[in-house]
């Protein structure tokens, strides 16, 4: 199994020789556009099959499989839970005494408490990857990354439109002041990941959440909640646009997280395992549709440690120990420490060092966010999936 020490890196250290890495890097960093090993264009995604609502025992579920056989299944379960405030009694006083410190943007909400706004901890995410423990760095990092954009996507401009989604996912989970839904998102990867599993998991989670239904509430106001037994009238967690609404008003959808790498001056989307192993920089960018319907909104960016930093360096001929056995002692010391001695030699693989230039980050996000860019393409593709 994989070495847990290196598991936090973008995936396991690739088993490619320095020569292979160098070849791959050169072809991916060609100035006229990269040549990818599988012939895709830089922004093209791998083909996948998707289905939703596959598990009757869950509130929502989805399965996505890549052609290479990596499959992910996401099941969403919701439980009703009592809203526990850190101090219930104090809460009352605070509400009376403080004239609602205007720390909420919309003045309509008078009580700035979890009871109204929802709490990020109500969404729990756990990722199971074969060969990893639950608390290994990779699953923890992945779930924090996806959860962060899920709870963070507050579509505040709910003016006149879906008021139900006004507080984002968090707000949707509020039943009343004392009760809320708790959402468990369990992600199951069916085989060891062949590439960094982030896009797969994110897309699957997206579809599962879209298909998630909550039973229809029959109680009103601050009553203890009870629900309609008829699953047929259950409501979607992410409400569907009513047929009467104009076609332009698109449905509010969960965010997606895209994986972008930069190699040389090129920007490459949805890298496979080999491509990510020569990346200069790896970014995970979470986006969602802007609440105004058009355009995209950036939710979060995270750098991911590129596995290229852990690769084995190639040795240029000029420094090959076996060809200079006759030379003196001090030269050998320099050769054993080649990074001090030489500038990068073309065609010889060096583990990537250093970070990302700011211009590269700008370019990466621009490619995702621009009109007609990759982000829109992905979201449109997902909207094509029948849920």
């Amino acid at each position: 199994m994989s070495n847990p020490r290196q598991a936090s890196s973008a995936s396991q250290t690739p088993h490619l020789s320095p020569a292979e890495l160098s070849y791959l890097y050169t072809s991916l960093s060609l100035p006229k556009g990269p040549i990818r090993p599988d012939g895709r264009s830089p922004t093209q995604f791998r083909p996948l099959t998707a289905e939703t609502d596959i598990l009757p025992g869950t509130n929502g579920s989805a399965r996505i499989g890549f052609a290479d056989g990596t499959q992910a299944i996401v099941g969403v379960k919701a439980e009703v839970e009592k809203t526990v405030l850190a101090s219930d009694i104090l809460q009352q006083d605070v509400e009376n005494d403080l004239q609602a410190p205007s720390d909420r943007r919309d003045g309509a909400e008078s009580t700035p408490s979890a009871a109204a706004g929802g709490h990020g901890s109500w969404v729990q995410m756990s990722i199971e990857i074969p060969g990893f423990r639950d608390d290994d760095a990779l699953p923890v990092f992945l779930s924090e990354m996806m959860r962060e954009s899920l709870v963070g996507s507050v579509t505040d401009a709910g003016k006149g439109r879906d008021t139900e989604m006004a507080g984002g996912l968090k707000g949707r989970l509020v039943i009343n002041k004392r009760w809320h839904w708790r959402l468990y998102i369990d992600v199951l990867l069916l085989s060891q990941p062949l590439s960094y599993p982030l896009p797969l998991l994110s897309l699957t989670t997206h579809l599962a959440l879209l298909s998630t239904k909550l039973p229809k509430l029959k109680s009103q106001g601050e009553e203890d909640p009870f629900f309609d037994d008829d699953w047929g009238v259950a409501e979607h967690l992410y409400p569907r646009p009513s047929p009467s609404a104009s076609a332009t008003s698109s449905q509010i959808r969960p965010p997606v997280t895209l994986l972008v790498i930069s190699v040389g001056d090129n920007v490459i989307f949805d890298p496979n395992r080999e491509e990510i192993s020569v990346a200069d920089a790896v970014l995970a960018i979470s986006i969602t549709r802007n609440s105004e319907g058009q355009g995209l909104k950036l939710l979060s960016i995270r750098t991911i440690d590129p596995p290229s930093r852990l690769t084995q360096p190639g040795v240029p001929n000029s420094e090959n120990l076996s060809t200079m056995a006759a030379t003196g002692n001090s030269d050998n010391a320099a050769a054993a420490n080649p990074s001090a001695g030489q500038e990068e030699v073309p065609g010889v693989w060096r583990p990537r060092r250093g970070g990302i230039k700011r211009s590269v980050i700008t370019e990466l996000t621009r490619t995702v966010l621009k009109k007609g860019g990759v982000g829109e393409e992905v979201l449109e593709g997902l909207e094509g999936v029948e849920v």
Partner: protein, 269 residues
């Protein structure tokens, strides 16, 4: 008060989900579901659904290979993972596996270790990964069936299909069976509420595929059936075993026919 089989069955002669005593739930199965593995299957018995993938026979890890060098055959490695969303309530656990999945994987490992022709693959490992997506009773039986299908898909030789089924009694069956007025019926293929209420057992049987001169001899088939797995965690008076075991074996036979249909119907055959 929740409905219970032990109270409603004597009145209606129907189970809670409307089945008769010897009726199985809807059986659905598919093989070659995951191209990344050597063999894979998806199996649903009612609301119990399982995905299973097989890797290997492949070179075992260094430590294991040396340990099993004496046996000279392949090592079967089973890993059972019950998804958090599989049950009615979401299962929370602190990493790793729980008692139920460890138990199932132990039974599966010993069953398939002796069932497969492991001697054909010395110093290698056959690893089976079982993911329980939805659990609604007869989990062990369904896991046996899913593993068999995935192993067939992986092309690993075995003497016959290993099929599992559960059987239970419609009451607690704690007193000796009274042959004159016996109001308890055996049940085939239990669902989760029934499992929680009633005593039940799980049986896995295998039937040698007739070869040679017996090939055409249809009647001989039953004579070749062997019980490979028998697991029972609940308490029942021994006199009722007589009625439980045949029902479970009947279920296994039924499932075997269904599974043969699945294998024949798949495109790879």
């Amino acid at each position: 008060m929740p409905l219970e089989t032990s109270t409603t069955y004597p009145l209606t002669k129907l189970r809670l989900d409307g089945r008769r005593w010897n009726e199985m739930r809807v059986f659905q199965a598919q093989i070659s579901t995951n191209p990344a593995s050597s063999g894979s299957s998806y199996l649903a018995m009612g609301n119990t659904s399982i995905m299973c993938s097989v890797h290997g026979p492949a070179e075992g890890r260094r430590g294991e290979a040396s340990g099993s060098a004496g046996s000279g055959g392949a090592v079967v490695d089973v890993d059972v993972n019950v998804a958090g969303f599989a049950g009615i309530d979401r299962k929370r656990r602190a990493g790793g596996s729980d008692r139920q999945s460890t138990n199932i994987s132990t039974i599966l490992r010993s069953a398939f270790q002796s069932h497969l022709h492991t001697y054909l693959y010395p110093h290698s490992t056959i690893s089976i990964h079982v993911s329980v997506l939805s659990s609604d009773g007869s989990l062990l039986a369904a896991a046996i069936n899913a593993c068999t299908l995935a192993l067939v898909d992986a092309g690993i030789p075995m003497p016959g299909l290993l099929c599992g089924c559960t059987a239970g009694m419609t009451g607690s069956a704690s007193t000796p069976k009274d042959p004159r007025e016996d109001e308890l019926d055996p049940l085939m293929d239990l669902s989760l509420p029934e499992e929680q209420e009633l005593p039940y057992l799980t049986i896995g049987t295998t039937t040698m595929v007739p070869v040679g001169q017996n090939n055409m001899d249809e009647d001989e088939e039953d004579g070749e059936t062997k019980v490979a797995v028998l697991n029972m965690d609940s308490k029942v008076h021994y006199t009722y075993l007589d009625s439980l075991v045949p029902v479970a074996i009947d279920g296994c036979r039924e499932i075997r026919e269904l599974m043969e249909g699945v294998i024949r119907g798949s495109q790879r055959m």
